[in-house]
């Protein structure tokens, strides 16, 4: 099938605003009478708040208000709204603080400087409590209690099991056990968390904020502020990155709202980079124990995995990450028996949560590293062992997931070919591979939304211009452009005929937002349905006018309304629109679409697949790794927006490779030691490898035009591929992320000792 818009070179529809400095982010929002807020944060990892005295701060000229937990409704909130025990975070807590950096008070003043000075004048009496920083310590009997009454600090447990695991182990010829440790990672969005809240005396609150889901923020603010959901308008027209860190309620949003409600004035709070590092949330650190049984020929039989995650002080999205890491640890392979037990443990540290990949990069690092070790132990080729066990189209993961499209085998073939084409590598070079896959949006509804997961409204104006209202959120990944492409294709018009409206709860239909790689499939389906609805209405009028034989179908392509069988017979789209509007009593054509997954298993309606190969150069003297080439064979179904797709791929590589060998958040007594961009290293332009991508064509029946997930799953393979490249180059396997020069040298030293035995 030939498309007119889909998979063509389309400029990002927000591009001109972004390359000319016109795009206005929350960071740039300034409204008349606006005050500036700052947050006082706990210096202690665990302490009871005895008293807060803000009288001196209030005396400082220019200070308008100081609020503490006592000025709030004291609601314990969380994004897992369905489960009250997982709603455990009071932003501005009433009784105690649980991590260094937790907000205890907020100030509004006429300038940011005065607000900052006022923080020093707030006196807080703390009763310092014993704290615990490591999940393996926190789980012990007698460890300090992070939350009262939570036994052994276990916040959430998850169990996934299928098949007869014991029997599968018994039928295995070889069993291998390994321990892995996966570090945390900062989302490090270029735009730090920020919000401008404006409450007006008629009881309405408007919040501009940098978020992945205006609808979630609207719902969560409603819960903590006691306002009607629809009296809260959340606006997020441009968002400076999200990566999984911006769809829970944050202190910028909450504190600016509380201050604004107290003063009936707009209040802006922008986190400093340091605040963004120490007092938001982070990728979940995980300890993985993996026991795997295989046949001599490399057939995977059984896997038993136990995982302890460092939950930090609160639940956030960590409960979902705990489930997804366990599921995707099995991915994308077939297991006769699989058992996963995950324990999320509270500690007195920065809370952990979702981050691009949502637990899967950790699960896949451990799995793919061990698979290479097993292949070596058994003397089996590393591509072959993956091919033997790979998911295939229409496979069902027992009780968990139904797979429709799957191009994994083709991806493996392509990568095998590429590796061969590299020939013999020079010394200290290695190529590592990793398979991966990911969901196209989650089926779970822990937020308890009564609305469809995605909705769209298509309105056709008299001049043929189309207004597309979507609730899905543009955060730089290009969803506005993707939706415009889908709408233009389905309706049969051009991209310049579409104007997309998003990022505003007052204008746009509810949608769960940008997380879990859900928007292309879910919002894409809603958009396609809305466009089809509008098109059907246009075709009714066109049919009346053309008067074809009843057996003929009509369609619209590139602004031409025509008989499918005889494309030369037709009418101009713009003329049809005018007639149709007249026929509707002057009403604009409105099409509606919505999507919620049904009967698609526990996890997701569709899954992307791929294989990545990473070539590295290691200096055995210093342990330093240089990334050389990164080649990805990628099955995302039908590509919709090729520029956007390539950008997602390369961006994911930089973030995931950073997770593999650079990024870390070391702590001492609960204090993050590198909360700035001098000490926290992310990949810079000179460190980025050359990239190449092979798109593997599949058609996903559940996705719009056959499309599925394309951006987040690409974060899953790179750390594993990096570790496996090191294994290929020097024969050493590092089981702790990030793979720093120090760990490389230690592993080399150990190998030398081993070899000398």
């Amino acid at each position: 099938m030939k498309y007119n818009v889909i998979n063509t070179h389309v400029h990002n529809i927000d591009g001109i605003a972004k390359v000319t400095g016109r795009a206005t982010y929350t960071f740039d929002v300034k409204i008349p009478g606006m005050l500036y807020g700052k947050i006082l944060r706990s210096p202690h990892p665990h302490a009871r708040i005895v008293n807060i005295d803000s009288s001196k701060a209030m005396e400082l000229m220019g200070v308008k208000a100081v609020v503490t937990g006592k000025d709030t409704l004291g609601v314990k909130q969380g994004i897992w709204r369905r489960y009250s025990e997982l709603c455990d975070e009071q932003i501005l807590p009433l009784e105690k603080v649980r991590y260094i950096g937790e907000p205890v008070a907020a100030v509004a003043a006429v300038t940011e400087e005065i607000a900052e000075q006022a923080l020093d004048l707030i006196e807080v009496d703390y009763e310092v409590l014993p704290a615990v920083y490591e999940p393996m310590e926190a789980i012990k009997k007698g460890a300090p209690e992070v939350h009262e009454g939570v036994e052994r600090n276990i916040n959430v447990t998850r169990h996934i099991e299928w098949g007869d695991v014991e029997e599968a182990f018994e039928n295995s010829d070889y069993i291998r056990e390994d321990w892995f440790k996966c570090s945390g990672q900062a989302h490090m969005c270029m735009e730090t968390r920020c919000a401008v809240a404006s409450y007006t005396p008629e009881g309405k609150l408007t919040v501009w904020t940098s978020t992945q889901s205006p609808y979630y923020i609207q719902g969560l603010l409603s819960g903590v502020l006691g306002l009607r959901e629809s009296d809260i308008r959340v606006i997020a027209h441009y968002v400076g990155g999200g990566f999984g860190g911006k769809f829970e309620l944050d202190a910028a949003q909450f504190c600016s709202s509380v201050l604004s409600m107290k003063l009936s004035k707009p209040v802006k709070i922008v986190f400093s980079r340091e605040e963004d590092f120490i007092a938001t949330k982070r990728r979940t650190p995980m300890f993985y124990y993996v026991r795997t049984g295989v046949k001599k020929d490399g057939t995977f039989m059984a896997r038993e995995t136990r995982v302890f995650t460092d939950g930090g002080a609160y639940t956030g999205m960590g409960a979902t990450a705990l489930y997804l890491t366990g599921f995707f640890h099995s991915f994308p392979y077939k297991w006769a028996g699989y058992r996963y037990d995950g324990f999320r443990v509270y500690t007195n540290t920065l809370p952990s949560t979702s981050m691009r990949g949502f637990g899967a990069p950790q699960g896949m690092f451990c799995s793919e590293t061990q698979i290479d070790l097993i292949a070596r132990d058994l003397g089996i080729d590393r591509v072959e062992i993956r091919r033997k066990n790979a998911h295939t189209p229409n496979y069902e993961v027992p009780g968990q997931a139904t797979i429709a499209s799957c191009g994994l085998t083709e991806c493996l073939d392509k990568i095998e070919e590429w590796i061969k084409s590299r020939g013999d590598l020079p010394p200290n070079r290695g190529i590592g591979i990793s398979s991966y896959g990911f969901m196209s949006g989650g089926i779970f509804n822990w937020f308890d939304s009564p609305y469809s997961f995605s909705s769209a409204v298509v309105t056709i104006n008299y001049d043929g211009k189309v207004d597309l209202h979507v609730g899905c959120q543009e955060i730089g990944q290009g969803s506005n452009t993707t939706m415009a492409i889908i709408c233009a294709e389905e309706l049969g018009v051009r991209i310049e005929d579409i104007r997309v409206h998003s990022g505003d709860t007052a204008e746009c239909p509810p949608d769960l937002g940008a997380w879990g790689s859900r928007q292309t499939l879910m919002a894409g389906n809603a958009t396609k349905m809305a466009a089809a609805d509008a098109k059907r209405q246009l075709l009714e009028f066109a049919t009346a006018k053309i008067k074809p034989n009843i057996v003929y179908d009509l369609d619209i392509k590139d602004r031409w309304v025509h008989l499918v069988a005889r494309p030369e017979r037709g009418l101009d789209y713009f003329e049809v629109v005018k007639d149709a509007l007249r026929g509707k009593g002057g009403q604009r054509i409105v099409g509606r679409g919505f999507y919620t997954p049904h009967r698609k298993g526990m996890i997701s309606p569709a899954y992307s697949y791929g294989v990545q190969a990473l070539e590295i150069d290691v200096d055995p003297e210093t342990g330093k790794i240089k990334l050389v080439n990164c080649v990805t064979a990628h099955d995302c179904g039908q590509p919709i927006n090729p520029i956007g797709l390539h950008g997602q791929l390369e961006g994911a590589i930089s973030m995931a490779a950073g997770y593999g060998f650079l990024e870390d958040m070391p702590m001492e007594d609960g204090k993050i030691m590198n909360p700035n961009l001098v000490d926290y290293k992310i990949i810079r332009a000179t460190e980025m490898p050359e990239t190449e991508v092979f798109e593997i064509d599949t058609y996903e029946p559940e996705g719009p035009f056959g499309a599925k997930e394309a951006g987040e799953g690409l974060t899953n393979p790179t750390a594993a591929a990096l570790g496996n490249a090191l294994f290929d180059a020097l024969g050493i396997s590092v089981k702790q992320l990030p793979i720093t020069p120090e760990k490389v040298l230690n592993a080399l030293r150990e190998k030398k000792l081993e070899d000398n035995k």
């Binding site: 400095g21 270029m190 400076g240 980079r273 955060i475 961006g651 994911a652 332009a685």
Partner: protein
């Protein structure tokens, strides 16, 4: 605090304003003059989101006091267009998808412009070095390198005329 008179040209427009002598250039550009295309991403002169051109040189505007550039010419991303026409680098960014969230883009454009003005025929490695001071969390930089390479190769030359 006594305010000081600053005479500054931003995007070919002259301004005279009284400012706190300790104000950073980025604060004057954004807060006093309203050129919010220039962003801030850190407090440690590490991210490059605030990069502007001062008399043709790329400078992180959080690293200089506004008073230090008294009498000088500053260009921000808003000043790249000429008569409503995008600059070749802006066009190349669009064609190559060399931005995603867009928050680093203004700074990235200014580093790119200063770099290509200085070195119009760079190797790709030199391009990478040229934008090394600018962090981007979204793109992985390669699309930016391709865009700048295309400009250097003259793919947008007719646009300059």
């Amino acid at each position: 605090m006594e305010k000081h008179l600053l005479r500054i040209t931003v995007n070919e427009q002259e301004y005279e304003l009284y400012i706190n002598p300790k104000a950073l250039l980025v604060e004057v550009i954004r807060d006093h003059l309203g050129f919010t295309g220039t962003k801030r991403g850190c407090e440690s002169v590490s991210c490059g989101a605030c990069t502007v051109m001062i008399d043709g040189m790329a400078v992180k505007s959080c690293s200089v006091l506004a008073m230090q550039v008294d009498g000088m010419n500053v260009t921000t991303s808003e000043g790249l267009e000429e008569k409503g026409q995008l600059h070749p680098i802006q066009k190349a960014f669009l064609d190559h998808g060399a931005y995603q969230c867009g928050f680093c883009t203004s700074g990235m454009l200014m580093s790119s412009k200063a770099f290509l003005d200085e070195n119009p025929n760079p190797t790709t490695h030199e391009i990478r070095e040229g934008i090394e001071g600018n962090l981007c969390r979204c793109t992985g930089y390669n699309s930016i390198v391709r865009a700048l390479d295309a400009v250097a190769k003259g793919n947008y030359r007719e646009d300059k005329a």
